[in-house]
């Protein structure tokens, strides 16, 4: 219940934090701590050093710039879940955040933290992938940008180098006539997903689908884009039959895990069911 001992650092700038990461080989960065501290308490993670980012100012913000939504890495789930800007223009992100655990966890957990933890059954990474977000990373060599699809590499593994920190998440604006939705099938509301889907659907004035972005959670080592489903929708007028048929393609290239909450087979089946349902939810929200 009590973590092993560690050195604690409390840098006041990102540069200082990077230097500390660089010079302490076995170190972990502390953002909200709602994933890291849980692991440390169970002694599943016992870094020699913990670098607390929370004294670095200017890492928590939500703003628009150049046609993108910019969210600081230390913005809490509660903040961006309830942000008017996010709710109105990137509803899928707010909806995904609202399903994270519970209020107290959302008050402390951060967007940067959850994407770096990279649990494929987590809510926000799945939405981030659907949103085609860019992740701004800072390291000893300066800043670089990695797209969400390149950021999630494997179970609990990202494209971050050991001496890098995520600074910001950038999300391109969704076009007009776009609806989005996130839904998670889980035993309890706040649990990690058995199957989860984030869908963003854009249609033109004639009602033809011009863009479909569908991201699946808990289907493998990382969240995955259901590209076959997306391709089956784009260029077509979406109706129930088409959506149902296309959703059957959601099992392409997925390899969900098997555990006591769901066998791999069940997860595959549920992924298809919820792909269908979440596409419909997104479609119905267009214009609202």
């Amino acid at each position: 219940m009590i973590p092993r001992s560690f050195e604690y650092y409390n840098p006041s700038s990102l540069e200082e934090a990077i230097k500390l990461l660089d010079s302490n080989e076995d170190s972990k960065v502390l953002a909200g701590g709602q994933s890291l501290i849980a692991l440390m308490k169970l002694r599943l993670a016992s870094p020699e050093s913990v670098i607390d980012l929370n004294n670095i100012s200017g890492m928590s913000y939500i703003k628009e710039s150049d046609g993108k939504l910019l969210i600081g890495a230390l913005t809490t789930h509660d903040m961006y879940e309830n942000s008017d800007l996010v709710k109105q223009k990137f509803f899928v992100l707010s909806e995904a955040a609202s399903r994270v655990a519970d209020q107290q966890i959302r008050n402390k957990g951060t967007i940067g933290g959850t994407i770096c933890h990279a649990d494929p059954s987590a809510d926000v990474p799945t939405a981030i992938l659907a949103l085609d977000a860019d992740i701004v990373i800072t390291g000893p060599g300066g800043d670089r940008v990695v797209s969400a699809k390149d950021f999630f590499v494997d179970f609990f593994t990202t494209a971050l180098n050991p001496n890098e920190i995520v600074k910001e998440i950038q999300i391109p604006f969704l076009g007009a006539r776009t609806g989005s939705a996130y839904f998670k099938h889980a035993r309890r509301e706040g649990d990690f997903a058995i199957a989860s889907v984030a869908a963003i659907i854009t249609i033109d004035e004639e009602g033809v689908c011009t863009k479909a972005s569908i991201s699946l959670g808990s289907v493998g080592p990382t969240p995955l884009r259901a590209t076959k489903v997306e391709n089956a929708l784009v260029g077509k007028t979406l109706n129930d039959d088409l959506i149902a048929e296309s959703s059957q393609l959601a099992d392409f290239n997925i390899s969900p895990p098997s555990d006591i909450h769901g066998s791999a087979d069940y997860r595959v089946k549920m992924t298809k069911v919820f792909t269908k349902r979440v596409i419909k939810m997104a479609l119905n929200r267009i214009g609202s």
Binding site: P3, S5, M40, K41, A101, Q103
Partner: protein, 158 residues
């Protein structure tokens, strides 16, 4: 590891105590500062018995290191009653039998205080979502929800 002094404001008072980096805030409150009203009910940050208010938001104090609380403003269950008078939420829990063994109760009340500050007139669904991070084994949640609803009415009529 060497212990360090931590200074913070708890229930309106400046307090300080020593902790190691790995000392969780809940142990700091309970063992070092003697504020034993905040409880521990699990190892994984689920049950919410340890809920306090830190810098205005409800937080599970078992999922925060004491060092992170340096310079913060914290309210624990002990700080709710003011000038010898019970907080309306406490009164409501008592009047509506919103507790039995009382172990989860401080956490429930602190979560309720955050909920009602943000949403002074919540629906039953909103109340249940608001206490989603607070497990209770005795009450089946029915009277907790009733207590929070009653507290909302009390606080609105003030």
């Amino acid at each position: 590891m060497e212990k360090k002094k931590i200074k913070l404001t708890i229930n309106g008072e400046q307090m300080e105590g020593e902790a190691e980096p790995r000392t969780l805030l809940v142990y700091f409150l309970r063992d070092v500062l003697g504020l034993t009203g905040t409880h521990i009910g699990c190892d994984t940050g689920h049950c919410g018995c340890c809920t306090i208010i830190m810098n205005g938001v409800s937080v599970k104090s078992c999922m925060v290191f004491a060092f992170q609380a340096e310079g913060t403003t914290i309210t624990t269950i002990e700080g709710l009653a003011q000038n010898g008078k019970l907080h309306p939420i406490q009164e409501s829990f008592w009047e509506n039998h919103g507790l039995q063994c009382g172990y989860c109760t401080p956490g429930q009340i602190m979560s309720a205080s955050f909920l009602l500050k943000r949403n002074p007139n919540p629906t039953e669904d909103e109340i249940r979502r608001g206490i989603e991070g607070n497990y209770c084994r005795c009450t089946g949640y029915v009277n907790i929800v009733k207590s929070i609803k009653a507290a909302a009415e009390k606080m609105q009529s003030k």
